[in-house]
C-alpha cells in the first residue's frame, strides 16, 4: 500500500520521482509502483487511439479501487471504445445510460445498494464510481452531477479531462483552455477553462482533488482516499489526448507532466474543506514549452503566450505560497 500522509520518505519520493526525474535514481518510486495492483480490470482489445490518456486513467482508477466497484460512464470516448457489442473491456460491473446523467445514474446505484443492503437482498457494498469526460461533466452533465454531489450519495465522480469533445472530433467544451484550437473554436478558445474542482468544492463535499495520469502514484493515492471516504467525492484528472491536442502518441505522459511543471494544472486536494497542494514541481517550466508541444496551440502569438504565462504566474504564486 502507498502510505498516505506525511511520511518523510514518501514526500521525498513524490517530490522527486513523480516530477519526472529519472525513476532509476529513486528507489521509493519503484517500491511504491510495485505496490500497485497487477490485476488488469480493463482488458486489452479496446478501440482507443494509440496512446489514449482516457484508457490510462481508467486503468489507474481500477488499480486503485480493485474489483468491488460499480462503474458508470456517460457517453464519450471511454464508453464507445470499450463496449462495442458484443465485446467489453470492463472486468468490473459497468453501466452507461446517456450523456448528461452519470451523476444521477450513480446516485441511483448508490442508493439502491444502500437499501438492498439494509433489506438483506445483497451482501457486499461496492463503491460506485462515475468515470466521465469533461463534456459529460462540466457541460451537459453539470446539472445531474451538481445534484448528486449536493445530495451527498456515497460515490466517487472522476472527470477525465482531455479538454474538448474528443468523441465527436474535437469540439470545445467548458474545460477547453484559453487559446486552444478546436473545430468549434477555430480562432482559439476565447474564454478561460471552467474551474470545475472549485465548483465541486463549493458543494462542500468531503473530498475534492485534482490529478493527472502522468503522476500515477499521486492519482492512485487520491482515488484510494476518495473511496475510503463515505459520501460524495470528486477527482478531476487531466488526461492528455494525442488526437485532440495534436501530439505524437508516445508523448501522452510527458504532456501531462509538462502541464503540471508549467503550472497549467495544479495538483491539490481539499479534504473536509482543508486545501493542500499535493505536489510542487521542482522547477517551473515556461508555459511556451507546453504549448509548443501541441498543435492546438500552434497558432498562438507571442503576445497570447505571454498573457497565458502571466496568468499562470499569478496562479502559481497563489497555489505555492
Amino acid at each position: 500500500m502507498i502510505v498516505l500522509g506525511e511520511k518523510a520518505s514518501y514526500v521525498k519520493c513524490r517530490w522527486k520521482c513523480e516530477a519526472g526525474l529519472s525513476a532509476n535514481r529513486c528507489w521509493y518510486y519503484r517500491q511504491h509502483l510495485k505496490e500497485v495492483s497487477e490485476e488488469e480490470l480493463f482488458t486489452s482489445g479496446h478501440r482507443g487511439c494509440a496512446g489514449c490518456g482516457n484508457v490510462i486513467t481508467v486503468r489507474l482508477v481500477l488499480k486503485a479501487s480493485g474489483k468491488n466497484v460499480v462503474v458508470v460512464s456517460p457517453t464519450g470516448c471511454t464508453e464507445v471504445i470499450s463496449t462495442p457489442y458484443p465485446e467489453t473491456s470492463w472486468e468490473v460491473p459497468w453501466i452507461h445510460a446517456n450523456f448528461e446523467n452519470a451523476g444521477a445514474v450513480a446516485s441511483g446505484i448508490s442508493d439502491a445498494v444502500k437499501v438492498l443492503l439494509r433489506k438483506g437482498k445483497i451482501k457486499s457494498k461496492p463503491k460506485v464510481i462515475a468515470i466521465a469526460g469533461d463534456g459529460g461533466t462540466v457541460d451537459i452533465g453539470f446539472q445531474s452531477l451538481s445534484g448528486a454531489m449536493e445530495r451527498g450519495h456515497d460515490m466517487l465522480y472522476i472527470c477525465v479531462d482531455n479538454e474538448a469533445y474528443m468523441n465527436t472530433g474535437v469540439q470545445r467544451s467548458g474545460a477547453t483552455p484559453y487559446g486552444a484550437y478546436t473545430t468549434t473554436s477555430p480562432l482559439g478558445q476565447d474564454t478561460p477553462k471552467k474551474d470545475m474542482p472549485a465548483i465541486m468544492a463549493a458543494h462542500r463535499i468531503p473530498y475534492v482533488a485534482t490529478a493527472t495520469i502522468s503522476l500515477p502514484l499521486d492519482f492512485i493515492e487520491k482515488v484510494k482516499k476518495a473511496i475510503s471516504i463515505e459520501g460524495a467525492s470528486y477527482i478531476h484528472v487531466l488526461a492528455p489526448c494525442p488526437t485532440g491536442w495534436g501530439f505524437p502518441g508516445e508523448k501522452t505522459i510527458e504532456l501531462g507532466r509538462l502541464a503540471v511543471d508549467a503550472g497549467m494544472w495544479t495538483l491539490y486536494e481539499i479534504l473536509n474543506g482543508e486545501f493542500r497542494v499535493t505536489y510542487k514541481p521542482t522547477a517551473k517550466v515556461p508555459v511556451k514549452e507546453y504549448l509548443k508541444a501541441q498543435k492546438r496551440f500552434a497558432h498562438l502569438s507571442e503576445e497570447t503566450i505571454k498573457k497565458i504565462q502571466e496568468d499562470i504566474d499569478k496562479r502559481w504564486a497563489e497555489a505555492f505560497r
Binding site: S22, A23, N24, Y29, R30, L33, K34, V36, E38, E40, F42, T43, S44, G45, H46, R47, G48, C49, A50, G51, C52, G53, V55, I56, R59, L60, S82, T83, Y85, P86, E87, T88, S89, W90, E91, V92, I213, P216, P242, P248, G249, E250, K251, T252, I253, E254
Partner: protein, 81 residues
C-alpha cells in the same frame, strides 16, 4: 440477444494489427521500475518476475513505454509488414 456483455470479452479484438512501430525491450537495460507497465494504455505489458513482457497481439505501438523508460531500454522499431 443478451442485454448485458460478459466481462473482458474485448480480448477477442486483437488490436496488434493497428501497429506501425513495435516496442522491443533490451532486457539488460531494464531496472524494473514499472513505468512501461503502469502507463501502457493497452494493458498489454505484463510483469513476469522482475521483467516485463509486451503482448504484441494488442500493442498498438503508441510508444509511451519507450518514451517513459528511464534507461532507454525500450526501442520502437518499424513493424515488418
Amino acid at each position: 440477444m443478451k442485454i448485458v456483455l460478459e466481462p473482458g470479452t474485448s480480448l477477442k479484438n486483437k488490436t496488434g494489427g493497428w501497429r506501425n512501430f513495435k516496442p522491443v525491450i533490451e532486457m539488460k537495460k531494464c531496472i524494473d521500475c514499472g513505468n512501461c507497465w503502469i502507463f501502457c494504455p493497452e494493458s498489454c505489458i505484463r510483469k513476469i518476475g522482475n521483467k516485463y513482457e509486451i503482448d504484441l497481439d494488442y500493442c498498438k505501438g503508441c510508444g509511451i513505454c519507450a518514451n517513459e523508460c528511464p534507461t532507454k531500454a525500450i526501442e520502437t522499431v518499424l513493424e515488418e509488414k
